[in-house]
């Protein structure tokens, strides 16, 4: 069933999520559209709260009949980093991750991995992932839910960045004052 995922590439989806710093860094192939689109919605879903997901799902046709294939279950994932971004790998630390896999009655298999222990969020995100692969419902969800959640998340991030930026100390300003 998973093999069906790349079969219907969403032509109108953005090739890259502009707000995903990680995506931009990893992205080597600009026309890997289905993978990128899915990566984008999965990242948006992973950042959305369970209540948000439930509300949006109810507003766009409700949850389909589905079966849990695995989970939701929580576990630890070792986060690895590279010194300087390109150096030797090292273990940064473990983080709690909850995952879930569901299969809808129409045959799509949805996966979700979310940070934290919110089983409901993981399950809803997996249901979304399955629905977004269903041509009958993908467009409505993409424009009605994913785009809005992404915009809200970008706004939140911008707000945090704005508040943080206001506390920034401009050391170079003092130097500039002295020299000018």
């Amino acid at each position: 069933m998973l093999a069906a995922v790349p079969a219907d590439p969403p032509a109108d989806s953005p090739p890259n999520a502009p707000d995903e710093a990680l995506d931009g860094a990893l992205d080597g192939a600009p026309n890997a559209a289905p993978q990128d689109a899915r990566r984008h919605w999965m990242s948006v879903l992973a950042r959305a709260a369970a209540d948000e997901l439930a509300t949006c799902l109810a507003a766009t046709g409700g949850a389909p009949a589905y079966q849990r294939l695995r989970g939701p279950e929580s576990g630890l994932v070792m986060v690895r980093g590279r010194a300087g971004g390109g150096g030797a790998k090292f273990n940064l630390g473990e983080m709690t991750v909850t995952r879930c896999t569901v299969r809808t009655a129409s045959g799509q298999v949805g996966h979700a991995y979310v940070a934290g222990r919110d089983a409901r969020q993981a399950e809803l995100a997996a249901v979304y992932d399955a629905l977004l692969q269903d041509p009958a419902r993908a467009d409505a969800l993409r424009t009605g839910v994913i785009a809005q959640l992404a915009a809200a998340q970008a706004a939140r991030r911008a707000e945090v960045a704005r508040k943080a930026a206001a506390t920034k100390v401009q050391f170079f300003a003092m130097r500039n004052m002295r020299t000018s």
Partner: protein, 198 residues
């Protein structure tokens, strides 16, 4: 998700992984301690064909990312399901496998019997048979059994007693065998002696 690793999985594993895996582990433990006793396992599980619920339950319970599994060609249809739910790796070399899954008895000599320093590294063969209540009758003797007990199995080769005798002769080395049919399992540890009963 890379295309190379996409798994075709349409069926769930344990609904309650902790409880069900512990219950199944207990069943395997009991069957190993009392060779030939029948234990229920895998009730309610819906594994992919051709696996029976008991076979699938034993795999879900024992196999994980630390164990290498060798699949008999007849059991290859369960590969994706097993990879998804157990996170296991597979090997094409029977001798490198910690667990072997088969629907017909493979050559036991190809499986790892362990080493004298580490006999516990021997392979465990999970064999799905036609029935554990009908078929050829075997008389079992050995540790865990007071006197003898009998076991009926349909689906073992006619010369199984001879084959098992060769496996038994290498003790403490040798392959352990878990037999599964439907929602029942039993076990023949390498210490048990098997004779064909009349």
């Amino acid at each position: 998700m890379s295309n190379a690793t996409q798994l075709d999985v349409t069926l769930p594993g344990f609904a309650d992984p902790v409880e069900q895996a512990q219950a199944c582990f207990r069943a395997v433990l009991d069957a190993m301690a009392r060779p030939g006793t029948l234990r229920p396992a895998g009730e309610g599980l819906t594994p992919p064909a051709p696996l029976d619920p008991a076979t699938a339950a034993v795999l879900l319970t024992l196999v994980d990312h630390d164990t290498r599994v060798w699949l008999d060609p007849t059991a290859a249809a369960g590969r994706d399901w097993l990879a998804f739910h157990c996170g296991t790796g597979f090997t094409d070399a029977p001798a490198a496998a910690a667990f072997a899954l088969a629907l017909a008895l493979p050559d036991l000599a190809t499986l790892s019997p362990g080493t004298h320093e580490q006999p516990e590294t021997a392979a465990t063969l999970i064999l799905q048979v036609g029935s554990l209540t009908a078929g050829a009758r075997y008389r079992l003797r050995g540790p865990g059994l007071r006197g003898t007990s009998t076991l009926s199995v349909r689906g073992l080769p006619d010369d199984f007693a001879t084959i098992w005798q060769r496996n038994r002769a290498g003790f403490p080395l040798g392959v352990d065998l878990v037999l599964c049919a439907g929602t029942t399992l039993t076990a023949l540890p390498r210490s048990v002696t098997v004779d064909r009963a009349a």
